[in-house]
């Protein structure tokens, strides 16, 4: 346990090192936040209460999307390139001999990364958004806590998906294609383009049932107070269920994959 805490702290510090890059990222998130906010205002001016949100809730949704984009790695980013590279070059064999679990090791590092991005790239755009627009910020500290738990679960789901996809490199060697499919799915089904409640009919139902809705749609709805009491437990069960199922699938694939590893030596 102590080991994984150290790995997580390492993940945090690794990203905290690049301060100029973080500042540049905050700038970008803020610019995109403003552009999207104006398009949402135009949309909600035409149709107030669209998708069950009033205008200030919709604007809050925009800024939450910018704040969580990096933390929940909705467009990829994080460990997957590195893990794929280690699989391709064979360095993965060294990782497998370490007295640490492969999946937990990378999860710990990714949690550290997500924690940094939530603080480093989440707070400032959110504050700037709140200054420029009328946002629906929750008054109760309990909702903030419930939101953070939902974000944490979202990060684990995001990790589990990306870990699964990275393992495909054991078979494909070049992970670029699947990785791209993965982040496209993340972009589309997380609710980053538009809230999933605006997706029509069956597409909307499918999108809400897929794991990616845990990355933005669910945490945003918790933040906006759309889930309370039993409903809150239900969405936690939804996120936790996907997290467990995907982690288990990753573990199974990992054990199949590691049997394929051929250690060359001299």
């Amino acid at each position: 346990m102590r080991l994984y805490a150290v790995v997580a702290a390492g993940g945090f510090r690794r990203y905290a090192t690049y301060r100029v890059a973080t500042a540049a990222g905050v700038f970008t998130n803020t610019v995109f936040g403003f552009i999207l906010a104006y398009t949402y205002i135009a949309l909600w001016d035409e149709r107030p209460q669209l998708g069950g949100y009033d205008q200030s809730e919709a604007l809050t949704y925009v800024w939450l999307g910018q704040a969580l984009l990096m933390a929940c790695a909705m467009m990829g980013g994080g460990f997957e390139d590195e893990l794929i590279e280690r699989i391709r070059t064979g360095d993965i064999a060294i990782d497998l001999y370490r007295p640490a679990d492969l999946q937990l090791w990378w999860l710990a590092g990714d949690l550290g990364r997500a924690a940094f991005h939530l603080l480093g790239r989440g707070i400032v755009p959110m504050v700037l958004g709140a200054l420029a627009f009328d946002l629906a910020l929750p008054a109760s500290p309990w909702i903030w806590a419930a939101f953070l738990l939902s974000v944490a679960l979202g990060v684990v789901v995001s990790f589990a998906v990306r870990f699964l996809v990275s393992l495909s490199a054991f078979w494909l060697m070049d992970g670029a294609g699947v990785m791209q499919m993965c982040w496209l799915a993340g972009l589309f089904f997380s609710g980053m383009l538009l809230p999933l409640s605006l997706f029509p009919g069956l597409l909307g139902e499918v999108a809400r049932a897929l794991p990616w809705s845990s990355l933005l749609q669910v945490p945003a709805d918790v933040f906006l107070g759309k889930h309370t009491g039993w409903g809150l437990l239900q969405v936690y069960a939804f996120q936790g269920g996907w997290a467990l199922a995907l982690l288990a699938a990753g573990r199974m694939l990992q054990s199949v994959a590691t049997r394929r590893v051929v250690v060359q030596g001299g």
Binding site: Y18, V20, A21, A23, A24, G25, F27, T28, V31, F32, F34, I35, Y38, T39, I41, A42, L43, E46, R47, L50, D174, A176, G177, Q180, M181, L184, L187, F188, L193, L194, L198, F199, P200
Partner: protein
């Protein structure tokens, strides 16, 4: 200048050959590029499944704005899209290798890892533009028709100069490639929507400070017969060539200043 273009062409040809060695991977990433940019338009279509107009603009009109900026941006990205790798080269010192070659550094940096898969973006932009031209309810005149290719070329040049200026900025900022993205990708996203939905100060900013409005907003207002939210005179629609030339000049100047200030990495 001719030497630089020739060198650019050679480096580009080399990268194209190298990516064509893995045809399946090329096909997949080009398709991915196409799909990724198409999502922006899917989002707009989803919006229009709920409303008939956005900021007073209909779907064909927004498709026109979208198609012109995406194609212009796609062209600039195809030609100059590697500029954001400059920061990495400054950090790890590999820029030095480019400096000792007897070829313009800008040509080498711009052609570095040239990615033909970026045609995916251009294709997507052209398809939306074709849809817009097909469905638009506009009385076409020769002047209006001439506006469309002019927008693509001058818009591409304006975006290309933003890429170059961003590259020049990397000499100082080193790992701030994302600031560049907010002007390039951010600018592209902004121009996909009508100016009427944005705050006036923002529109003023992209007209007079970073003149992105000349990529498509100004000429489009003329083509679509729309009022300018800033109330600027109609001849502004004819300015893109002038603005593009000015931008390229300034970006070239910024590049020189950046390159002169470059000090290699050391410990």
């Amino acid at each position: 200048m001719a030497d630089a273009l020739r060198a650019y062409g050679l480096i580009v040809a080399m990268w194209v050959r190298s990516t064509m060695a893995y045809r399946a991977s090329f096909a997949m990433t080009t398709l991915g590029n196409f799909a990724a940019t198409a999502f922006d338009f899917v989002a707009i279509l989803l919006m229009f499944s709920h409303v008939d107009a956005l900021g007073g603009y209909s779907l064909p009109e927004i498709a026109f704005l979208y198609g012109t900026t995406s194609t212009a941006f796609g062209l600039a990205d195809l030609v100059m899209g590697s500029m954001d790798r400059l920061g990495r080269r400054v950090r790890d010192g590999t820029l030095d290798t480019l400096l000792v070659r007897p070829v313009a550094v800008l040509a080498q940096v711009a052609a570095d890892r040239f990615a033909l898969r970026r045609l995916g973006r251009v294709t997507q932009g052209l398809m939306v533009l074709a849809y817009a031209l097909w469905t638009l309810d506009v009385e076409w005149t020769a002047a209006k028709a001439a506006m469309v290719p002019m927008m693509l070329l001058c818009g591409g040049a304006i975006f290309a100069s933003v890429f170059v200026a961003g590259g020049a900025f990397q000499f100082f900022a080193q790992d701030a490639a994302e600031v560049q993205s907010s002007f390039t990708y951010g600018g592209n996203t902004l121009l996909q929507y009508p100016p009427s939905i944005f705050a006036k100060d923002l529109v003023r900013g992209v007209t007079f400070v970073v003149p992105l409005a000349f990529v498509n907003w100004m000429p489009s207002l003329y083509v679509l017969g729309r009022e300018d939210p800033l109330g600027l005179p109609g001849w502004f629609a004819l300015l893109p060539p002038v603005v593009a030339a000015g931008c390229l000049g300034l970006a070239g100047l910024a590049w020189r200043v950046g390159l002169r200030s470059y000090r290699s990495t050391g410990s």
